[in-house]
């Protein structure tokens, strides 16, 4: 039960953070040159001053910035994210449409990064300073150093054009109208390359953290006790070292949830995936404040939920949290 109070308190503490972000972004975007009407007219390729004035009224841009902020926060309290200028629909529906792609991409990349980061980290730690360690560490660094969009575009050239194995982009193949199981398979095929592109970068980070954490735990006293009990090295690692080494890895997930959504902006534009990342980019370009704040609000919720889950996971792993040290 204590975990819930602990995690609950953390949740409550994140409310002020959320409000801080929203106001910060809102004030920031007031300074941007041009507003959503200018962006609309840029897209329309024309429009006279009269229509511009009407549009400004229609989007509620004719009142002072503070009044706009006031309306926004008042609506937010009632969980109404306002109206999206780009799509002429409530922001909530626009985000709901694009959420699945982002959630799928993020969970896939995060699990790929975590799982392979863990496995390679253990292998590297076990064979420290020998060839498996150097090979894995350098490979990890190469993926870490490679710009994600560059890897993405090269992957498209190799895998979808040259080898024709995987689709070059998009979320699913709608011309054929698949349903049920075959549709999920089709979406999976579409997500292979984007997940690789986004996931490999984070795998390199998890790999290094796991290697360092394994080496650290191997020097602790209870590992020596385990060996003194006559345990062979593999059992020592599996029964005793692994679980302790996992703790920093789990905390990292919480920290990285935010940055991952940032990373997906580029990946989604390279693979033309309809996710929150690209929507955020478009709403900045189109000066669509409501959508941008809606995305910031939803991604903040996403990060807070991920942190909440991470807290629960951490408490399950480490009894010292729940029973109070």
């Amino acid at each position: 039960m204590r975990i819930l109070t602990l995690a609950g308190r953390r949740l409550a503490a994140s409310i002020p953070t959320l409000v801080l972000i929203l106001i910060g972004v809102f004030v920031l975007l007031q300074f941007a040159p041009g507003d959503t009407v200018d962006a609309l007219m840029a897209q329309m390729g024309g429009g006279d001053a009269e229509t511009a004035k009407q549009l400004r009224q229609y989007y509620g841009l004719d009142v002072s910035a503070w009044a706009q902020l006031g309306n926004y926060l008042w609506r937010l309290v009632r969980l109404d994210l306002g109206f999206s200028a780009i799509y002429g629909k409530p922001v909530a529906t626009v985000i709901a449409e694009r959420l699945p792609a982002t959630i799928l991409l993020m969970t896939a990349s995060l699990s790929l990064a975590f799982f392979f980061g863990l496995v390679f980290g253990v292998i590297a730690a076990r064979g420290v300073n020998r060839w498996p360690d150097t090979l894995i560490s350098t490979l990890g660094l190469v993926f870490y150093a490679m710009p994600t969009f560059w890897f993405g575009l090269m992957a498209i050239v190799v895998f979808s054009i040259y080898l024709q194995w995987l689709p070059a982009g998009g979320f699913e193949d709608i011309t054929v109208g698949l349903t049920g199981w075959r549709r999920t398979l089709d979406i999976a095929r579409h997500l292979v390359l984007p997940t690789l592109t986004l996931g490999l970068f984070y795998m390199a980070i998890y790999l290094r953290i796991m290697r360092g954490s394994m080496l650290e735990v191997l020097t602790l006293d209870f590992v020596r006790t385990a060996r003194a009990k006559g345990m062979d090295e593999t059992r020592v690692v599996v029964r005793h070292v692994l679980r302790n080494a996992l703790l920093p890895m789990v905390t990292l997930i919480g920290l990285q949830a935010g940055t991952m959504l940032g990373g997906s902006v580029v990946v989604e534009s390279v693979f033309s995936l309809p996710g929150l990342g690209r929507l955020a980019y478009e709403s900045v370009i189109q000066r669509d404040l409501n959508t941008l704040l809606g995305i910031v609000f939803v991604s903040a919720l996403l990060v807070i939920t991920v942190n909440f889950i991470v807290d629960l996971l951490y408490a399950r792993l480490d009894p010292r949290i729940t029973t109070g040290s």
Binding site: S14, F149, W150
Partner: protein, 276 residues
């Protein structure tokens, strides 16, 4: 064992240092090899590398010499990486130090601000900053600096929390040292090494962020940065893939070098881990 001897024991650290020196040499010798403005029209656009002896690495889709842009770009990208890292580390240290040293309500407030920056996806904040303040080289660098300070703040705060009650700090307090003297005289010198090592990670990320911004055509067009070359190359990627590939490799090598040096520093600092 002296710090340097420890550092040079690990081959990857040496490779990293060599690569970094190579990139630095490129940055310094740029004016000597390519005196003309790298953005000037050098010849026919989209010449393949090694096709024309005058342009060893060919020309991009604006007819500019790629080799010149790689050399001059080294200076810009390192500069962006360095300045952005300094900004983010300085902000991070100050906030981390104050939060870690004073604790309770000061710590809570500053941590809420740090969490706010970390909850908000940093690339999106970067987009907003660039959209608002324009895409000149200074705004891009400052924006990257502003976006990446939370991680070093967390690290500094952790260091300060552990060092704050260390006995030599308490001794300093009994001797009558003021808080400021304690923070900057006693604790900071001991808290700096891990933060400096982490700075290599921040620098690597700064260079990658600049290239991502350039990919979205949001960085400064008047400057010959590698990111810009990749952004330009994006339009001709399928045919003249080398326009993006060459700067991509340059970024790969630089970030690899910075990370290897960072890792070398880290292992040399706590030999217990590496030497085990």
């Amino acid at each position: 064992m002296s710090f340097l001897k420890l550092y040079f024991r690990s081959p990857p650290a040496i490779i990293g240092l060599v690569l970094l020196l190579l990139v630095l040499a490129m940055a310094i010798s740029a004016d000597w090899f390519y005196p003309r403005d790298p953005l000037a029209l050098a010849g026919r656009p989209l010449i393949w590398p090694f096709a024309n002896p005058r342009f060893l690495l060919g020309t991009d889709n604006s007819g500019r010499d790629i080799a010149a842009q790689i050399f001059h770009g080294a200076r810009i990208s390192l500069l962006i990486g360095l300045v952005a890292t300094i900004i983010s580390v300085v902000i991070g240290i100050t906030i981390g130090a104050v939060a870690g040293y004073y604790g309770d309500w000061v710590d809570t407030i500053l941590m809420r601000v740090t969490e706010a920056f970390q909850t908000l996806p940093n690339f999106i904040l970067l987009l907003v900053l660039v959209a608002v303040f324009g895409s000149t080289i200074t705004t891009v660098t400052v924006a990257i600096g502003i976006v990446s300070w939370p991680a070093s703040a967390r690290l500094t705060r952790a260091e300060f929390l552990s060092l704050r009650n260390r006995e030599f700090v308490q001794a300093g307090r009994t001797l009558g040292l003021r808080d400021v003297k304690l923070i900057f005289g006693e604790i900071l010198p001991n808290a700096l090494p891990p933060v400096i090592v982490y700075a290599s990670v921040v620098m690597a990320i700064a260079i990658l962020l600049e290239s991502a911004l350039a990919f979205l055509k949001l960085s400064d067009p008047n400057v010959a940065s590698w990111g810009n070359l990749i952004g330009a190359g994006r339009d001709v990627l399928r045919v003249q893939w080398y326009v993006s590939a060459i700067p991509g490799v340059a970024i790969l090598v630089t970030v690899l070098a910075v990370s290897l040096v960072g890792q070398g520093l880290n292992d040399a600092l706590n030999p217990r881990l590496k030497g085990r």
